[in-house]
Each structure stands twice: as C-alpha cells, then as structure tokens.
C-alpha cells in the first residue's frame, strides 16, 4: 500500500516537473523541422515560430546558433508575423542567424517568424540553439515577457543509415510565387539626428510568398538603383518624383510612386517662360511704336 502511494506521489511530482512549464504563461520561441533525422548533404528547412501563450507580444529578438556549421542556402521571411524588421534575419560569422523585429499593436497566438534552409555535412548530432531571446509585452511600458525557448537537435546520418522512409520529405521546395509584394507607402523623413537633418526616404513592405529580396529607388530621370531604408535622397530640394520598387525572391515586383513634394522650380515651368516671352514681345512692340511716332 505504502509503495503504491509512493509511486503516486512520484508520478504526481514528475508530472508536475514536466507539465509545469507548459502551464506557465511564458511566450515561446520554437525551432521545428518535419523530422529529426537527416542525411549528410540533405537540404532541410528549419522554421522559427513564436507562440505568445496568450500574452500580447510586440517585439522579439534573438539569435540562432548552429553546431556544427550549417551550410545556409537561404532565409525565408515571407508571410512573417513581423511587420518591421529592426534586424532582418541574417547570417553572422557563418555560425549564427540574428534577428529583431516589431509587430505594431502586438500579436497573440502562434505564428512563424521566418525559416532558414540549408544542409549539414558532418555525421553526428546537429544542434540549433536559440540564444539571447527576448520578447516584450504590448503594454506601452516595455515590459519583458517571460520567454522560453525550444531548441532543435537533429541526427545526421549517412544516407544508407537513414531510418526515415523516402516518402517522408523533409524539405519541400517553395511553391511557385507569382504574387508581388504588398502595396506600401514610402514616406519622407527629416530629422536632425539622422543624416545631419537631410531628407530621407523610408519604405517597407511584406511579401506573402518567399519574402522580399531587395528594394530599388529611382529619383527623377535617374534609373533604379538598389537601396535600403532609410535612403538618403540625392535631390534634397524634393523636386523629383520618386519611385520605390520592392522585389521579392521570385522576382515579382511592386512599384510605388511618390510625387515630388516641392514640384519643379519656376524656371522649369514652361508656362512662365511663355508669359515672359509674351511680355518681352509686348515691350518690344511698344518700343517700336514709340520710335515710329517720333
């Protein structure tokens, strides 16, 4: 009887230990793949999810560290929860991906932050750690949310050793993406603390497919040039029309146009030249008439 009681207590204790984390309201950043065993050289996609666990989160950052080296092929940030990236997911020092971004108004639920695709070339265990993870509540005070992380461990084997059936595809190439990036509104800015108070242009948009590849800006008669936001304008007098092109990773484009804030100067207005010409002609005619009278 005593033994049975003890077993019950131990069971309750262990259940408490294992289940407690899931009962708490800590938001979670989680790494996921379809399967946990891959072969050397096989391409995999690792997805990075945010589960807010009923909290309302509006800012998140962190880094993902690989061990052993992960041969990164691409990072996909299309259809992300993040509206504006402070630090777009990018590879740093060949060993980690860093990211930081915000969701104005906050987010509650589970959604994907981004994913990354690549392969491992070393047999053994591959670990992906989330490091320096931070999330903040949407409360206007910058309160740090309690955050847990779920790392990822994969078994990397030679192909002949693989126990997974071939039907279990671990990486599906992205579906054809023919949808252009979302419409957006480029904005002009002017702030003494930035670019020494010169005019700059800001822009950002989302892509529902593979993600934004790059932006290009065209001022007036110039051609499109690759650009990043914020973009220091060449025409500080703001007399040129501006076009901003967002190009996604499938090559789809979205072009937004801004009319010149200040328009053309007077000497670029042909009407004014017309009026001046008429006035000069009238003055000459008058002068001629006066000469004839004399």
């Amino acid at each position: 009887m005593f033994k049975v009681k003890n077993k019950i207590y131990i069971f309750i204790f262990l259940a408490g230990v294992f289940l407690l984390p899931s009962w708490t309201l800590a938001a979670e950043i989680r790494l996921e793949t379809k399967i946990k065993e891959i072969t050397v050289g096989e391409t995999i996609e690792v997805k990075v999810f945010l589960n807010t666990k009923k909290e309302n989160i509006n800012a998140v950052e962190g880094e993902i560290i690989f061990a052993p080296p992960f041969f990164l092929k691409e990072i996909r940030d299309g259809n992300s929860l993040i509206s504006f990236w402070i630090k777009r997911p990018q590879l740093e020092a060949d060993s980690k991906i860093t990211f930081a971004g915000i969701i104005p108004g906050g987010y509650s639920g589970t959604g994907q932050l981004f994913s990354f695709v690549g392969k491992l070339q070393t047999v053994g265990t591959a670990d992906f750690f989330i490091n320096q993870g931070k999330a903040f509540l949407n409360d206007g005070l910058g309160t740090a949310a309690s955050l847990s992380v779920t790392n990822l461990t994969l078994a990397v084997v030679q192909s002949e050793e693989k126990t997974t059936t071939p039907e279990q595809k671990i990486f599906l190439p992205a579906a054809p993406d023919s949808v252009p990036p979302e419409s957006f509104l480029p904005l002009l800015g002017n702030e003494p603390g930035l670019f020494n108070g010169q005019w700059f242009l800001v822009f950002a948009t989302q892509d529902r497919g593979l993600g934004i590849d790059h932006y290009e800006v065209r001022e007036g008669d110039d051609s499109f040039m690759a650009a990043e936001s914020p973009y220091l304008l060449k025409d500080q007098k703001l007399r040129s029309q501006i076009w901003v092109k967002a190009v996604d990773r499938a090559g789809n484009e979205r072009v937004e146009k801004m009319t010149a804030k200040n328009g053309a100067v007077w000497y670029e207005n042909l009407r004014i030249w017309g009026i001046i010409l008429v006035l000069i002609t009238l003055m000459l005619v008058k002068k001629l008439c006066l000469k004839r009278k004399r």
Partner: protein, 502 residues
Amino acid sequence: MKKQYFLIIICFFLTIVLSIGFFVFMDETNAGSSGDSIFMTVKISVCGNNIKEGGEHCDGNALGGKTCLNLGFSGGVLHCTPSCEFYTTSCITSAGSTATPIFSPTNGGTYTMLNANNSAATVNLPQNFYTDNCDMRMQMFSYEKTAFMTSKPPPTGKNFCGKVYDFVFIDGSGTNISTLAKPASITLTYTDDEVSGFDENTLAPYRRGDSDSSWQPISGAVVDTANNTVTFSNTNFSSISLIGEPQTTSPASGNTGGGGGGTSSLFINAGFSGRAYPQSIVTLLKDGQIAGTVLADASANFLINLNGLSVGSYNFGLYATDSHGNRSALTNFSSSIVSGSNNITGLFIAPTMVLDKSEIKRGEVLNISGQTAPNSGITIIFDSENVFSEQTTADKNGAYAFSFNTAPLGVGQHFVKGRAGLNGATSPFSQTQNFLVGTKSVAADQNNLKGDLNGDKKINLVDFSILAYWYNRPAPLASADLNADGKVNLVDFSIMAYYWTG
C-alpha cells in the same frame, strides 16, 4: 497740365471715400420722419457686426445655421473669418485631399485637384455658370474608395476606379448650391495602378446625391484610355466617381504589382465591420501601414472594405480617433485571407481614455474621460497596490466621464485602463494611462505622443527608422530613448510599437 490731372485724381478718390463713409453711416438706420417724407430702410452688409447679412457667409458667431456638415465635412467646429467667410480649419474630414477654390460666376474658371498618387480632378466652369455676382466657393474632397463602401457602395459587380470626389458649392451668402445654371466640364484622371484589374472600356463617371439610393451614370462621357482621362459635363453636384467592371481575363504581365497586382489580387477583398464611436475616424492598418480610413456613422458602426489582397495570413490593426482627437489603443488581429470575399465582423474598438492630471495631490479628484460606443458600460481598472475597478456608462454620444477620489491610493505610480461592454460584447482595453500620486497636482500634457520622434503627430515608419538608426548605438538621441535608460534597444521599440499610428 500735370497739376490738373492730379486734382482730378484727388477729387475722384475723395468722392469714393465720402460715398463709402455715407453708406457705412447709414447702415441699418431707419430713415424716418414725419409729414410727407418717404420712409425707407437702407440695409447694407457690414462685416464685423455679428449679424449675418446678404453677401456674407457668416459674421462672427452668426453662421446662418451652417455647420461643418453643410460644407461637406464629417464634423468639427465651423468658424468665421474676419472677412465673413467660412473658416473650416477645425472641421474634420477623412478625405485624403481637400481644396477650396473660389470662382467668379461671371468669369468662370478652372481648378485641378491633384492627388498624391498623381490622379486628378479638373473642374472647368464656364462664364455665367451661376446667376449671382458674388464669388462662389467650391469645397472639393478626394476620398479613398473605402470611405464610400458603407455609405454609398458601388453598383453590384462594379467597383470604384480610383478616388471618389465630393463637391459642395456655396454661394456668396453661404447657401448650398446643388445645381448650376450652366454645366461644368469635369475631367477625372486616373492612374495605371488604379485601373489595373478593371476592364477599361467599362469605365464611366457616376454621380450620387445624398438623397439618391444608387449611383447614376453620367451620359456623354469621353473616355481617353491612352491618356487615362474621362471627360464629361455635369450640372448637378455631390459625389462623383469613375466606376468600372473587373477584367474577365488575366493581364498579360503576371508578375508585376505596380500598385494593384493582377485581377485575382485586386478582387480579393475583405470587409471589416464593427463598432467604434459616433462620427469617429476609424483607421485600418495592414502590416503596420495605413490601408484605409472610414468615418463611423452616428451609431458608431463602421465598415471598411479593402481590395487588392493576396491569399495568405495578414496582421490587421484598427484604431479610432474620437471627437476630441484622442486615439484609441491599436488593436491587432490576424486573419487568413482566402480567395474571393472575406468578412471580418464584430470588431469592437477600444475606448479612448484621457486623464486630466499626470500627477495628483493625494485626496484630490482625478478626472477620467473618453469615448466609446453609445450607451456602453465602461469598466475602469486601477492597477495600484491592489487591482480594483469602477463602473460608469457612456452617454448617447459615447462620451463618458468618471471622477475618482485618489484618497485611498498610496503615494507613487499608478496605472489605469478601461474597456467597454455592450450587448454582451466586450472591447479590448484602452491605452494604459499612468499617473503619479504625490504632493502636488500637474495637468496632463495631452499633446505628448510617445514615440513621435519627428513631431509629426504620427508614429510610423519614419519614427521607426530614426529609432533603428540609434539601435544599440552609444549616446543615443534623448528623444529616441523612450524609457530614458540611456540606450536604445528592443524595449524602446516595444514602447513605440504600442503607440503606433501607421
């Protein structure tokens, strides 16, 4: 000879001055006498006497019964200039552009309203377009199509192509004129982006008066598809727009957005409806950027339609601006958009909340006010040493006010927020307000917008970019350090994201 001319000019001006003086003296005087004299009343408009007379829109506080609504605005306070003309700076509108050109009815004239996206409306009024000698004022408004989806939706199977315009004519005496003596020639210019996804051959101008039940096509229009213009004549004014039908085949270039996307994208739409505050401006954000604004009706109901969406998951955000210009908390929601029409209903925008003091002497009364849907119950939650709540009710205009005696509160920082409830539905919480209980009272600064780094009263991508510049940099700009901890990090971005306006 020169002297003679000089004398003539002096005499001429003297005569004019004397005549003016005579008429001013005679203003509103009753010339009466006995016997066989003729009784007559001489009445001349005198601007500045606080009496609205002929030839004046208004005079001082005498507005002739007119409000901002009569001039085509959605609300606000109408004023009168010292020259007795309507002054509409304090009037409210959700229009993207407004203009007030003045025309002489005798001479006519032309005015072009150019929109930010390069679309335009040109009104050409002929000579003697109206039987009055006083100058005519035209109030011109340019709206995004979403602003009309509720109040004046397009005919079934059709959609607005580009902007929707409202025209209001006011004569010299401040009277609204809906019909002109001679037709005006109007040219509406649309952009390639606006017409993307439409069958351009179906474009036609439509008109709809406030009392009309549907949009009526204006006949005789010339559609110039090469130059993207539609020109037509019109005598009756109110709402005017180009309306067209969607393309039935896909465009040739499949992968260039150019602002509109392909046909499939343009006609994937979503309707967002719910409750805000009466006559409040409701703003919809898509991925943190403004996607549309609409004016809620007198019962606080709103509907925003959004076109050009793609299939996928979106983060939408909603907020409303109340009658005092205060903004509600931004409420976000995620939606999976599917092909065709999507309806997101039952949205209940958080109430606005304003405190009259940022610091208050313990025991004094803190006044809390704001706006929500009419007759809603308001739960005000105080987050102090203990969390407790108070209840009040909004009036028929959605306004609420609550006076709270701070005697039970301890010295220190306290937080307060509120939510509305109506017919079983509950709104999200208002923005959290904080106040300090201490030894003195300090009026709250209602103009302080946290996160507005460039001072344009908006918190958007420009402010985000300024903050991003200072991210993790040493010695950041003081205004960028939103929590004043000497550094710009994710905490500051979180604060900015909370106050975001798009």
